[in-house]
Symmetry: C2
Amino acid sequence: MEVKLPTFNSVFSIDCVIFGFEAGELKILLIERNEEPFKDWLALPGYIVEQDESIDDAAERILYELTGLRDLHMQQFHTFGEVNRHPQGRVITVAYYALIRINGQKEVKPVTQYAKSAFWHPVNELPKLAFDHSEIFETGFNKIRRRLNYQPIAFELLPEKFTLTQLQSLYEAVLNKKLDKRNFRKKMLSYGFLKELDEKQKGVSYRAAKLYKFDRRKYTKIFQNDLNLDK
Amino acid sequence: MEVKLPTFNSVFSIDCVIFGFEAGELKILLIERNEEPFKDWLALPGYIVEQDESIDDAAERILYELTGLRDLHMQQFHTFGEVNRHPQGRVITVAYYALIRINGQKEVKPVTQYAKSAFWHPVNELPKLAFDHSEIFETGFNKIRRRLNYQPIAFELLPEKFTLTQLQSLYEAVLNKKLDKRNFRKKMLSYGFLKELDEKQKGVSYRAAKLYKFDRRKYTKIFQNDLNLDK
DNA sequence: AATATAGTGTGTCAAATTTACACCATTAAA
DNA sequence: TTTAATGGTGTAAATTTGACACACTATATT
């Protein structure tokens, strides 16, 4: 079949808002750009979509190239299509978010030349970012804030085994408000998808807390009747 | 500043899922295509974004050209970017929804040649649509289903003056389940953003119901502290 | 050994919200 | 006048939410 489509000079890109949680603080991944425009500026990891890859595939590839991270569960959340959002031409960008356990070991590091470096930065006190990336970040942050209450996204940010206090402080960081400890625990445990382990926290200089695991099978069993919330 | 961007043959389009409510049924706008590919098929109103218009502007323009409808409050909900979703090349599409009062008078009618006709079709019993439009519709329908509970979208579908029974049957059509009349009314009225009018329904052959209006000012006053849910 | 420190883990009651449930009232048409 | 169709209303039980304080435990310090 012949291709009859108009051949505009339209460019598509992906930008990623990758959240992590470390030392009680919510962080996102930023890169230092190594290309014009906005050379040397801080930006969200993002790049151009190739002709022969779906946008979901592109999101994974681009994140990998700019940060070395793979196999995240990325979720599209908004498309930004203002005419002048890119100084060099028409670029429409699809924004994705993902959540990840920050692992002290695993260094984030660009695989391509497009970025000089990649690093975690607390979401409070973010500097001004390249392009409209500050707006993209805000939109994404609002998105996960809302989803926290009806999607099990918190557990993607925590280590596999976590204490209820860690879980609570994550909720507090995302929602930006204090929660009541007893009510929080009562509620979380009442859902029935947290599995209490026989293990305790280690290396703390105070009474060690019990560790829990998120039981995804139970979760989906409990919520299988809910509407599909993705997309 | 020189344009250095790659010049891929990427095409952007917009597709619209326009909901209406008539005779107790939820409907969407379909067009009959007048162009290859999928000539003569039914499809969502959609077309290609121009170089010099934002995607939000494009959505309004395209909807107008294909259906004659203007000034709807359109809301982006998802971007579809599979490589082979369009048989003639790479086309990424941003999907929008809008809600509108179906007005017996106001005929929907294409302004361009791209569509032969435009018409309302019940969301149950939808035929197979062109491209991946069936999937786009499903995604959009799920979206408004969810939003119904925390955005005042129901009122965009109803006439300015409506009865509580009409409001309830709209909720039932969107959520696809029966609701309890007394509880529904109690709840709706308790919000305080419905204004009871001194008027009654006319032309019915049974006891006429009171008419109500949605008071948007009160609504925003009540919910101004909520998170911004757009985007 | 005693003590200080820091965070863990737990229960109850009041208030608010949600749910289930049925019958008389009104209007127009037959 | 009767029938058909829908409008409009209240209460009680169950569930959920929200407020609230203190004893326990493990380690580090003296």
